[in-house]
Symmetry: C2
Subunit: 303 residues, 2 copies
């Protein structure tokens, strides 16, 4: 088992869906990632919050395998985001983004974290991702997320990031945009040529596609009757995926496939309630049971 260093956002989210609203709940990529990953291994979280992120808010991290030495609390307001989802939850509109204290965030990796064997670079400016990479000491596996905003606004720094990471976790639209290829097989190959040998493509309700040495591994989404809030599902997937991998002795094709299922499992919980509500209550037995549901969902015997 190996600890994971995660660098990203901790935020206050406000969410509108056809099923209700949530106001100023704790969110952020590093939060979802960390809580999911901590089911499988020790997590070291580097992020920034404002002085409005009080001790009560901080309790969500209590009793979890999450080290908060790297969580800076500074004067000012915490990053705030508000999103509104369409009827079928497949599209969302950002109502506002206030970076607040996140605007001046420069990740400082505590000395104890620098030899972390697994590193996840959350969806932040590629220049900051490079800054993190300069502070860590030969990790075994570095994974990163990014988004259309950085693909368009910081292509050069993003290309540098890509040459220095092992795995990229992005969604299908981003994979197409980054590669300029409509076909996902070609898109995956083009992105691998930019650096990351391992590509994990998130497809929302349609599941996940991962490259492997001789083709792909694919997991469909688990059909869920109650999907309330997709916020954080992608980051939760990332946390389950990398957390599971870091919890294994070795990284091979078999563990990678199971890691995709572990990530899909955690994401399937995340969407069942607003914000972190469901994810915070997940037990190891829940994880085990849903993992088996994924197996029942997809397995068949040979012809």
């Amino acid at each position: 088992m190996h600890p994971i260093l995660v660098v990203g956002s901790v935020a206050f989210d406000s969410i509108e869906t056809p099923f209700g609203t949530a106001s100023r709940v704790v969110g952020g990529a590093a939060t979802y990632f960390g809580i999911a990953a901590a089911h499988f291994t020790d997590v070291r979280l580097v992020a920034v919050v404002g002085d409005d992120f009080d001790d009560e808010r901080m309790q969500i991290f209590d009793g979890r395998r999450i080290d908060l030495t790297g969580l800076q609390r500074v004067a000012g307001d915490t990053f705030r985001w508000k999103g509104k989802y369409s009827y079928d939850l497949n599209d969302r509109e950002t109502i506002y983004t206030f970076l607040n204290v996140f605007e001046e965030f420069r990740p400082t990796i505590p000395p104890d974290y620098r030899s972390s064997p697994f590193v996840f670079l959350g969806n932040i400016h590629p220049a900051l991702q490079l800054d993190v990479l300069d502070q860590v000491e030969s990790p075994r596996l570095v994974a990163a997320d990014t988004m259309n905003y950085w693909i368009e606004r910081a292509p050069d720094e993003l290309r540098q990031v890509l040459t220095r990471i092992d795995a990229l976790v992005i969604n299908d639209a981003e994979a197409r945009q980054l590669s300029g290829e409509a076909n996902l097989v070609k898109a995956a190959r083009a992105i691998q040529a930019m650096g990351p040998k391992l590509l994990i493509i998130k497809r929302g309700e349609h599941g996940v596609l991962m490259t492997r040495r001789d083709g792909f591994f694919a997991a469909p989404g688990l059909p869920l009757e109650n999907v309330f809030d997709p916020t954080g599902a992608g980051d939760t997937f990332g946390g389950g995926f990398l957390g599971y991998l870091a919890g294994c002795a070795e990284v091979g094709d078999d563990t990678l496939a199971r890691a995709v299922i572990a990530g899909s499992t955690m994401a399937s919980f995340s969407v069942e309630a607003f914000g972190l509500d469901r994810l915070l209550a997940v037990t190891p037995e829940d994880v085990q049971q849903r993992f088996l549901e994924f197996k029942r969902l997809t397995h068949f015997e040979a012809l």
Copy 2:
């Protein structure tokens, strides 16, 4: 092994994709279905063509397990359709539809076909589907396809069909439209309440979702580098699915799951070339190998 009766269209298709065009090639739902199903069992095809469907065209059926006693050839032109696909092949526009001899088509089931144990009602007017059901004698399993056009234009007849079939094979947009539910789990349950206990939802490049007693079975689409023409992929899936089932001694959860993979396998070939070109050349070894590719794509060991 049980023979399948299929009733549907045999047509001339013209196809435009970003990769090229095909003009007046043989197509139609019953054609794609029959050629795929005949890989697994004997097929009895009921359809109509015009006198422009000459003996040379008829050769595509030669040497296959397809009985053409029920294929009427009448004076007039064969059904013609032209479609144009978008850049990513996920949307298509119908340029024209000339029903021609299909307009007056009244399926007459030859006496030898009436006791067919498996029946597939292709996407034709629900009144004609009912007409076929009145001519067959207690089949073991009846499956049907339909489309948005009939959901909107012939809802009463379609509802009658649904009470008389065992399985419905439709796409996800149609499932949502027919049920009025955005959530596919709820949509599936609502459609099952209308009659068919088995629902197979086609999701294009995202694969297939099938109801089972305790949940769902899901198959992702096989990632393909060369997708040239999605025409007929859904009907090819249906033929592989029902053909495989009819080829089995018993229909159970395990055979149903393998039938979804057999259907997905046949569909994955179909899209690799224009029209029927790839499908006509598929060998049993090709089928076996791609079935195993699906297994490698989706299987993983327990946690």
